[in-house]
Symmetry: C2
Subunit: 265 residues, 2 copies
Amino acid sequence: MAEIKTVSFIGSGNVATNLAKSFYRKGIKIDIIYSNTIENAQLLANKVGAKAVNNPTEIDIVSDLVVVALKDQIVDAVLSQIKINNALLVHTSGSINSISLAKYSNRYGCFYPFQTFRKEFQVDLYEVYLFVEANSSKDTELLKKTARLFSNKVVEMNSKERKSLHIAGVGLNNFTHYLLSITKQYCKENNLKTEYLTSLLTQTVNNSFYVEEALSLQTGPARRGDVKIIENHISTLESYPKYQKIYKAISQLILDEFHEDKFQL
Amino acid sequence: MAEIKTVSFIGSGNVATNLAKSFYRKGIKIDIIYSNTIENAQLLANKVGAKAVNNPTEIDIVSDLVVVALKDQIVDAVLSQIKINNALLVHTSGSINSISLAKYSNRYGCFYPFQTFRKEFQVDLYEVYLFVEANSSKDTELLKKTARLFSNKVVEMNSKERKSLHIAGVGLNNFTHYLLSITKQYCKENNLKTEYLTSLLTQTVNNSFYVEEALSLQTGPARRGDVKIIENHISTLESYPKYQKIYKAISQLILDEFHEDKFQL
């Protein structure tokens, strides 16, 4: 089977940074890092021994693989200016249907790490699911083989399933993150130690994620329909408008779930 | 110092069940379990060798400690019918101001385990914070000593702080639980394996809880103000109205947080 020996990255953000470093560490040569901001391209290029480019029309791909990690809405505008030369072209988006890359290369697909990334922290991909897809079984195998260099959880997945998974990931990651961040901020403002919350959080994650039919384990004032406590809490939160807003919104959702729209906060 | 040798429980729900069993296992005698439903009182009483009672006027306390674990709004109605005989009377509520028990006993306070309980699962309290409060330093010490029988995280906390902590706990536990349960349900309906989400969840909890200034690590379409993707997701969720509702509500909160009310879903 062929092998991926060289890769170029279109994008230099959180996903591109984590993937480029992962490839680089496995001895794969990184040819080009493109970003429309040259400083960003250069920052990543320096870390992985690549050439930084900020003008897409300058790019004439000679790499075996091109990884596009851009905001979904600018993918087309950038790719349409690059000479891909029928390299294997993959995007990293949960939402994009891979067939939309067909106009740029005969060989296309997706390389989707199911994880949240920040440039500042390199994530070990070993326990991270990597979902791959390509328009030929040969390239699917090639992507699988490449993904297995740094993940032991490589799965083939089509664009429709990937979109569903992406939506679930937004709920799981982005929303939980927001909720926990705001809660922590509220504790800080009230001089409550974050460590008070640690064992509760562990139990919560266990009950809600690792137990079947978790919804039936819901507890709390909204579950009980205890609107008096909820309203008391909401008024207590007068000086914490952000936490108050999220408190009210999710309490209403739980009330609706368990009390058939009987209560309106 | 005096010692708690006997305890009665007013209530037989999730909190009473977990605490009564914890006391019982440490060799403390459980005298009475009260519930207005005799079957519930009996079920717990059988497990801890106590007497089940469903008529509060029958109760004439001889125990050293009385633990009230009822819904907040019925505490007064029940306690006003019981002969407490100036036993040490503690409630287990995050919201109740302990001074409201002063009319039932000269010795009163709070014994608040900061954890989510279900009757069905006995929780090991060793790593669970137990917040105690009493109206005399002697009884505060007595409660601390008793709490330390089964928890290594015993902290004195007043009613005002406890209420703030309780509100944080609702956000942390109840809301996260709801969010994760609905996300899991959505995955199931879409034939996506729950295990795909595991490493993402671990990373999420780490980023949002164990990192300072977690809010600045927020990612995702709402963080970026990518309303096109959000609206696409919301319409994709047409057949999953519950997940759609929560998706829309929290996306709006995050949009407001990072984009100053610029976007309305």
